[in-house]
Structure formats: structure tokens, C-alpha cells
């Protein structure tokens, strides 16, 4: 049909009132507010009478062209009425043009990780968890100061040296507080996105399932490290504020310099961070199994509690070495001279095994799963 203008006028007008902005195209007719309008499609449009009503051009009156429905579809087929030019020339070209965009694997993945970290560390819930973790060493320090020290435990030794509070605090929070915080972030990682439906938009972006999972794990690992760092920092500040500082007397009886002590504190923090990251892999795997983030978090925390209980039952002694919970507090080695690396190396191997096994479980599940939420 050659006369798109005419057909658009007779056809599209009644069905297509102006959509956005002023009516600037020939395909749009604005009727009086509620006065019925009469349209006459006729070859005699130029007569004075007809000119008072809405007038179509002569061609439009042939049986074919006058059919309003056909006109509509024709207008659509020709790419819409001329009225529909994009407003605002600043719009990036959404049309099919140019070469396909090239993937930028490194820069793109960096950007996704930054976005992921931004979400994790801007979320109030996650920040509150970090703040609560910071409270634990403070409470321990204050109680020790009030009650007085004594006894052989690591915690009690903090009374003699502020630096020891970091070791003490870490051994306390590593069993439940730290895993709890990590479980919240890890359990939510995939299940949370699936539950709110954002997962399907990430995947159609396309984030790539393996890539997204790797970024999620990196995010969890960073959060785990941050949680451990928060505990260490809070313990250090509390310890130095409430107790004497200076050379540290180790469990093996030797004394090392304060600076050397700080290094060992760093080592403990790193060890705990790896242990928590490994636990994060467990949480991530659980997170790929469900669309209910609460369920994933609860299951992950439940796993820690069960594992801790198993560790206490004498009959289950043979399984102890395989439980991740058995290794979180095994950093006594740094308090000996020379540093006893055996146990910690074993612990790191266990953590690596957990990351490998549960990372594989998460990957297998996530890449093969139907995203229906």
C-alpha cells in the first residue's frame, strides 16, 4: 500500500491515540474530550461540508485501503507511524547495527565483582553482622579486665598482653559467630537472587553461570576475610586499650617482639579467613539448591551446629578430622617457636578440599539447573 499516511490516518487514528508527548505525526487524531467524532473516508473529501469533519485523502476510499484493520497492520509493518521517532537524540542506538560487541573478560568480570561487593557491603544486614562481630572481642576484653586474668587458657593470657586478646577472641568467634555471618552471605548468594527473580536477569544479561558463580564465591571470600579482619582489629584495639602491650610470651615459653607478634596475628587472621571462605563454599552449594534464602542460611548454620556437636561426641572421634569445624580453631601453632606449621597446613588442606568439593557441587547444580523463579 503506497499511501501509508492516508491509511494511518483512517486506520490507526481511532486505535492509536497519542502515546507520549505532543501529537506531531500524521497518524494521530485527537478527538474532543468526550464529543463523538465522525470520520468520513471518501473520494469527495474536498467539499466544504466534509472539510469540517476529519478528512481522509482520496486514495483511502478504495475498499482495500479503507479497511481500518488492514491499515493498522500496514502502519505497523512499515515500522510504525512516522510519528514514532525516538525522542531525545541522545539515545544510544538500539537498532541492529554494527559488529557484535566483544566480550571484555577481564574488565567485565572485575566490574561484576565490584558490583557484587558493592551489593554485599552496602547491604545493612551484612554490615550489622560485621558490627556484631566487632562487639565480641570488646565484650571479652571488658569481662577479662573486670574479672581479672589467670589460668592457662589463651583468653586468660590476654590479661598479661593485649596482643593475646586477638588469638583468644578469634578462637571464640571462629566456632559460631564468624560462620554465622558467612552463612548469611553465602546462603543468600544464589538463593536470594533466585528468590527475588534477579537471577534470571543476571543470567540473560548474560552474566554466564560459571562466571557468576566464581564471582559469587570471590565475593563470599572477601566478606569472610573482612569479617575475620574486623574481629582482629576490634580485638587489637580493645587489647591495646585495656591491657599492657609489649613483647609477647608464647605458649612454648619463648618471648617474641611486639612486631613479630603482630605478624602472627596477621597469620591467624589469614588462616581463619581461608577457613571461613571454605565454609562459604558450603553455603554457596546449599544456596544453589533452593530459591528460599532463609532456608539456605538456616541449613548452612545447622550444618555448623551439627558438625560442632559431632566433634564433641567421643564415639565419632574417627570423623573429626573430616569436619571443617575441627580445624577453624587449630591455629595454636603460631603461638609456638618456631611456628608449628603441621597442624595449620593440614587445616589449610582440609579447607582447600572443602572448597574443591563444595565448589564442584555448586557448579554442577547451578550450571545444570532450570531457572524458573
Amino acid at each position: 500500500m503506497s499511501r501509508t499516511d492516508a491509511t494511518a490516518r483512517t486506520g490507526a487514528a481511532p486505535e492509536e491515540p497519542p502515546a507520549t508527548g505532543p501529537a506531531d505525526g500524521p497518524g494521530v487524531v485527537i478527538d474532543g474530550a468526550d464529543r463523538p467524532a465522525i470520520r468520513v473516508a471518501t473520494p469527495d473529501a474536498a467539499t466544504p461540508d466534509a472539510a469540517t469533519s476529519d478528512v481522509a485523502t482520496p486514495d483511502a476510499a478504495t475498499p482495500d485501503a479503507a479497511t481500518s484493520d488492514v491499515a493498522t497492520s500496514d502502519a505497523a509493518a512499515s515500522g510504525g507511524a512516522p510519528a514514532s521517532t525516538p525522542p531525545g537524540g541522545a539515545m544510544p542506538d538500539a537498532g541492529a547495527s554494527g559488529a557484535p560487541a566483544r566480550a571484555r573478560p577481564v574488565a567485565g568480570t572485575w566490574r561484576l565483582l565490584r558490583s557484587e561487593l558493592g551489593l554485599t557491603f552496602r547491604r545493612p544486614r551484612n554490615l550489622v553482622l560485621l558490627a556484631l562481630l566487632a562487639v565480641v572481642p570488646v565484650v571479652i576484653g571488658v569481662v577479662l579486665r573486670a574479672m581479672g586474668g589467670g589460668g592457662p587458657s589463651i583468653i586468660a593470657q590476654a590479661a598479661g598482653n593485649g596482643l593475646m586478646l586477638t588469638f583468644g577472641a578469634m578462637s571464640v568467634v571462629a566456632q559460631l559467630h564468624l560462620p554465622l555471618a558467612v552463612a548469611v552471605v553465602a546462603g543468600d548468594a544464589v538463593a536470594g537472587e533466585a528468590g527475588t527473580g534477579t537471577l534470571r536477569y543476571l543470567l540473560t544479561a548474560p552474566a554466564g553461570r560459571t562466571r557468576l558463580l566464581l564471582v559469587k564465591f570471590a565475593d563470599i571470600a572477601v566478606y569472610a576475610a573482612a569479617a575475620c579482619a574486623v574481629v582482629t582489629a576490634a580485638a587489637l584495639l580493645t587489647g591495646l586499650a585495656l591491657f599492657p602491650a609489649g613483647p609477647v610470651t608464647l605458649l612454648s615459653g619463648t618471648t617474641i617482639s611486639f612486631a613479630d607478634g603482630l605478624l602472627r596475628v596477621l597469620a591467624v587472621t589469614g588462616y581463619a579467613a581461608v577457613g571461613m571462605a571454605a565454609f562459604g563454599a558450603v553455603g554457596l552449594a546449599v544456596s544453589t539448591l533452593t530459591e528460599a534464602p532463609i532456608g539456605a542460611v538456616a541449613a548452612t548454620v545447622g550444618a555448623v551446629v551439627c558438625s560442632n556437636i559431632f566433634g564433641l561426641i567421643p564415639q565419632l572421634e574417627p570423623v573429626r578430622p573430616y569436619l571443617i569445624t575441627s580445624w577453624w580453631g587449630e591455629f595454636d601453632g603460631v603461638l609456638r617457636d618456631p611456628v608449628a606449621v603441621d597442624t595449620m597446613t593440614q587445616g589449610l588442606l582440609v579447607f582447600a578440599a572443602y572448597i574443591a568439593v563444595f565448589g564442584t557441587v555448586a557448579w554442577a547444580r547451578f550450571t545444570g539447573r532450570d531457572i524458573t523463579g
Binding site: T67, D69, S73, A76, A94, G95, S97, G98, Y201, T204
Partner: protein, 334 residues
């Protein structure tokens, strides 16, 4: 490409064949026998042969539960089909998903965003997930698409505070973040008021005018009829009909409709003029206009003393076509 029509009773017959030209590079979407059987044994999509030509605005029509969304999820790689194959933008899937999806903007089963982030931050988040998107231009692109859907004023507002219509518009904005060759819009006007619906329709036309193929699902026939150049109709997980709207309707003769209190007399006049299928129903007389100039019919009616209140010549609506094809109404509520 030929319109391929099969009625409800033709399920056992061969699936609607693809025209040869439609099976290669000039299609944005091609599916060959795409099937999804869920673990419970329920077949959501059964042997689907879609062909969506590049540049088309393809209306994917069907009642709720007819398999539209499952099909869209399969096309986008969210759900793995249990049978058949498909191509997106000329690339065989699912191997080419990573390469094809950056050129595809998708709105699947309603908007989904992070409630504690602002509209702009939400778009930046999705943009960051696209490995082909350039982070340096992200803010400018986000501002541009927000402007395009009329959300600039609400860009800094948290998504949680968005109204339903704003959420839908934000989801549409997300589909326009990059240069797209194909838009897949699943029920884009859901939850929108009439004004919002018109805006979406205008936006679809704009995007299509730029050469982008648009694949839009809907359970509203009228909506598809107003936006689309092509249509595919789903019924119970199968494709009941597919083709250009104009061709689907071409086989149907234009009808003259006379609105009058003297419907019976009008029908008699139309019959006397040699028009076939003249009939009267209520206050309306209908007949196939054929080659008769409409003005003659009108003049004859008036001459015969029929009180003409309304006089239209139109091809049957899509709905009438489907009623004719399937012998039943397109009752979307079932």
C-alpha cells in the same frame, strides 16, 4: 513466508512447516521441535517450530498457561529444553548463548530488581553482569534509558518505593541498556494502566523502527493486533498458527458493517446489491463487500430508506480470524 494455520483439531498433523527462507540467517529466532517436559511428566511446550524474521514485531499469543513463558525461558537459556533445538540471532543454541545474549534485551515474567537499590543502581547492576558492556559508558547509558522510559525523575529513588507501572518501565529500560538486535518482552504491559500500555506500545514501535526485532508475548489479542507484524498462537503448549498478520487476514474478505435499527432491511439491500454473506444481527447488518465501492452500498442503503447510523468497511479482526480457524473464541481467561 507463508502464513501457516492449523486448527485445534490438527494436533496430530505435521507441525506448521517453516518456509525455506525463514530457516536461515534472516531469522532472529528459529526453533525446531523445541519441547519441554517437566519432571512430573507435564509437557509445557510440545514440538514448537517458531520462525521470527529479523525486523519483525512478533506477537506470541496464547492464554495463560499455554507455554509462552516456558518457551521464552528456553529461548534465553534459563530452562533447558528436553527436546529440539533453537537458534538466536543466527547462532545455534545453547552453545552460542554467551555470544548472542548481549544482543538480546529480555523482560521475563515481570520486573525483578533489588528493592534496596535505586532505579539507576539497579540498572548499573544488570549492566555490570553483561561482559560486553563498557563500564565507562554505563552511567550515560543508564541515564539515557531512564529518560527514554520517563523515569529520570525517579532514578535516585529506591526500587522499593516504585509503583507497579514504574517497575515495569524500569524493566523495559533494562532491556534497552545496550545495542540490541532482539527484544524479548514477556507480557510487557502487565500491570500497566491504559496510558502505560500505550507508552509501551509506542516504545515497541520506536525500537522496531530502528530495525530491532521484537518478540512480545501477550494473552491479549487486541494488544498483539495493534503492535505486531507477525503473530504466533500458542494453545496448550503447541503452536496453533503462525505468520504475518496481514497474510493471516488476507484470506478473509473485507466486510461491510451497517449500524442501523433496520438491520433486516439493510441486509436485504446488501443482498440485492449482490453481496455475499449478508446477514442481520441485532442492530447490525453485515456482508462481504467484494468489489462493490462502499459509497455505492451506502448510497443504496440510504436510498432504500435505511437509517444508517454507522457504516464501516473492515477486514475481520484477528479475533474473528481465529474464531474462524479454530471454531472457538479466543477466550484468554481459560
Amino acid at each position: 513466508m507463508n502464513a501457516t494455520l492449523t486448527g485445534e483439531g490438527a494436533h496430530e498433523a505435521a507441525p506448521p512447516p517453516l518456509a525455506p527462507a525463514a530457516s536461515t540467517g534472516d531469522c532472529a529466532i528459529v526453533t525446531r521441535g523445541l519441547t519441554k517436559r517437566f519432571r512430573g511428566g507435564q509437557v509445557a511446550v510440545d514440538d514448537l517450530h517458531l520462525a521470527v524474521p529479523r525486523g519483525a514485531v512478533y506477537g506470541f499469543l496464547g492464554p495463560n498457561g499455554s507455554g509462552k513463558t516456558t518457551t521464552i525461558r528456553m529461548l534465553l537459556g534459563l530452562v533447558a529444553p528436553t527436546g529440539g533445538g533453537w537458534e538466536l540471532l543466527g547462532r545455534p543454541m545453547p552453545a552460542g548463548l554467551a555470544a548472542a545474549l548481549p544482543g538480546v534485551g529480555a523482560l521475563v515474567e515481570g520486573p525483578a530488581f533489588y528493592p534496596y537499590l535505586s532505579g539507576a543502581a539497579n540498572l548499573l547492576r544488570y549492566d555490570a553482569a553483561d561482559p560486553t558492556a563498557d563500564g565507562r559508558t554505563a552511567r550515560a547509558r543508564v541515564a539515557a534509558v531512564l529518560d527514554r522510559v520517563g523515569l529520570s525523575a525517579a532514578a535516585g529513588k529506591r526500587y522499593r518505593a516504585y509503583s507497579l507501572g514504574m517497575r515495569q518501565r524500569l524493566a523495559i529500560a533494562a532491556t534497552l541498556l545496550g545495542p540490541r538486535e532482539l527484544l524479548v518482552l514477556d507480557e510487557p504491559t502487565n500491570g500497566l494502566d491504559p496510558q502505560g500500555t500505550r507508552e509501551v506500545r509506542a516504545l515497541v514501535k520506536q525500537v522496531a523502527a530502528g530495525g530491532t526485532t521484537v518478540f512480545v508475548s501477550s494473552h491479549l489479542l487486541a494488544e498483539v493486533e495493534q503492535m505486531c507484524t507477525h503473530v504466533g498462537v500458542m494453545r496448550g503448549g503447541r503452536l496453533a498458527a503462525q505468520g504475518p498478520i496481514a497474510e493471516l487476514r488476507a484470506g478473509r474478505a473485507p466486510l461491510v458493517r451497517v449500524l442501523t435499527p433496520d438491520a433486516a432491511r439493510a441486509a436485504a439491500v446488501l443482498e440485492r446489491l449482490g453481496l455475499s454473506g449478508a446477514r442481520a444481527a441485532g442492530e447490525e447488518a453485515v456482508a462481504e463487500i467484494g468489489d462493490l465501492p462502499p459509497e455505492r452500498a451506502c448510497a443504496e442503503l440510504v436510498d432504500a430508506g435505511v437509517a444508517v447510523r454507522g457504516f464501516t468497511v473492515a477486514r475481520p479482526s484477528l479475533e474473528e480470524v481465529f474464531v474462524g480457524l479454530t471454531g472457538e473464541g479466543f477466550d484468554v481467561e481459560n
